[in-house]
Symmetry: C2
Subunit: 387 residues, 2 copies
Amino acid sequence: MNQLNQSFSVRFTYSISFTDGLFDSHNTLLADFLAAQSTEALRKKLLFVIDAGVLAHFPDLGDQIRDYFAGQTNVELVDDLVTVPGGEPAKNDPALVERIIDAVDRYGIDRHSYVVGVGGGSVLDLVGYAAAIAHRGIRHIRIPTTVLSQNDSGIGVKNGVNYRGKKNFLGTFAPPVAVFNDYRFLRTLDERDWRSGMAEAVKVALIKDAPFFDWIEANALALANRNEAAMQYLVYRCAELHMNHIAGGDPFEQGSSRPLDFGHWSAHKLEQLTGFSLRHGEAVAIGMALDCQYAHLLGYLSDEDLNRVLAVLETLGFALYDPALDQDDSAGVLRGLGEFREHLGGRLTILLLRGIGYGEEVNEMDETLLRQAIHLLANRQPTLALD
Amino acid sequence: MNQLNQSFSVRFTYSISFTDGLFDSHNTLLADFLAAQSTEALRKKLLFVIDAGVLAHFPDLGDQIRDYFAGQTNVELVDDLVTVPGGEPAKNDPALVERIIDAVDRYGIDRHSYVVGVGGGSVLDLVGYAAAIAHRGIRHIRIPTTVLSQNDSGIGVKNGVNYRGKKNFLGTFAPPVAVFNDYRFLRTLDERDWRSGMAEAVKVALIKDAPFFDWIEANALALANRNEAAMQYLVYRCAELHMNHIAGGDPFEQGSSRPLDFGHWSAHKLEQLTGFSLRHGEAVAIGMALDCQYAHLLGYLSDEDLNRVLAVLETLGFALYDPALDQDDSAGVLRGLGEFREHLGGRLTILLLRGIGYGEEVNEMDETLLRQAIHLLANRQPTLALD
């Protein structure tokens, strides 16, 4: 009678569907999913939470959603579509978590009902968090509306909000029950959002899949010029690699290794230093350039590979330097190393590329060499994109 | 390129250790656990959150904890031991969640550090919730100090706080990394807390393990008279059955079935109707008596089995009736059925006993029969406990 040992596994499954015009009346994808999930003769409720930025581009979206569900018998749409601001502000205001929790309470959304988030990554992070803590987890469906959320942040298992300016300080690991990637939402993205979402695709290619990097390289100009077919493949393949990584590794990040955070230690800090005027993907592009330049100085990465990485990023339209990199005081970008270490839990673990498609983890970074890498990026002559 | 399917399992392991005097200087149980967890040459931090009710009985506990960790090199105790009120109030005040989150932030507690909760079930629910949402889940250790928390609420995978008076409206499923059951804490419990924790042992015996019920029946007087050896076995065996249930079933309750909620639909409502003057276990004892009386009226449960159940509860010292059962208006106990249905997610699922050790789920309850069952309990002649 000294000890009992507990051990169990919990299985999580969900699908990511790709479509064009999810709420078109003839598109039965979402309705079919809900019907298939309906195991009992009960009407499940659906509570929608929508990114105000998406509504600005699609003012009829609310009516479309109401029309879509008007004829359906096995689900009951909550008529009050909750709207929240888009972008990082969605994660900075605790009142927005409260607004969603309050709607869950007011409309009697139970654990077998659904909370549906429609928006960019920040809104999905907020909605996923509120859904995860209400009733110990309400089923949630994600409808990502940006490149970044469709290929990366919206399809994973994390959620979170900021706390006193600290990114994702509050959050959980809670997989959605389904993700619906609707290409239609990508058409209205502005240039910067279209582009910045591609940084995570470059990232996952660089650390996991050289042929995908070759493909991005070959299609970089088409992608920069908003070729839709190219973007659809990029989103699909990036999502696929991302999902394989989650399933094959440590989905709830119980260990210390975080390969998907390649380029992110400085990116998080750059976003903060620029007051989020840099988009996440723009910061990640700079972060990857910095860590590749550093890996090259360290002798990890060949001249050719370094040049290919930097040229692809530039062809896609990314700047590889921002003055915030040189904000050289105690609050500068190098402080991001310490914050990243704390976020990981004590031991710094940074992935550096050894070649296109594979990397190696290191546990320290040399600040002198990092400053040298920053200097090289600051003085770099950009690749000329020719089309 | 129409769909990607994700599927993965996450494994959770933890142990429950049983001891007497966890923080005695010669007791290496906790220190050994922390040393074994320490995979890297890093000092992990420990943030303690302690139930004020426990401190009232053990005013030296803080010093004992500080002494215990003073000589240890692989962990660093945060000197500020956070204190929170015990009992249900711990779960009613959102400022207490904030207080713990704030300490996590202030003392740089990362995902590989530990938050340690010491207290009754309510405090552990609060601490577990704060630990689960900070940094997407900090490792948490539970040190339950009541019978109820040592054999049931403190050893499971749930946490939660109340929201606008709604019980466990906010919470997650997040297993601890370890539980330490220290019998010493049980010695200072008042009569009601000593007794009320036994209700969950009766419950789990009734629905899962007839031999354990036989044992409780044979030892009911000893238990009522605070025999320590009997209580230690009761706690151990109840914890074991509880853990087996979690591991063997649906740990994160993705389905609708909730057999461990036997007797709980009315118990939750009775706690609320009495403003929590009824302890949880006292309410569960009444709830079980009610559902057994109902099952008997329905022909599910024999005379003999009904009488054994009611007699054991009475011998343990439980009242089987409370006037709140007859608060016969729209806010009365029968409303608990609807609230329980909503909590489960739409479909009412109630376990009724068919005999000692096994039950059957039903999806509706007859209100007339329930009122009759309440009437029988109100007019019952209690079993005389002879010793």
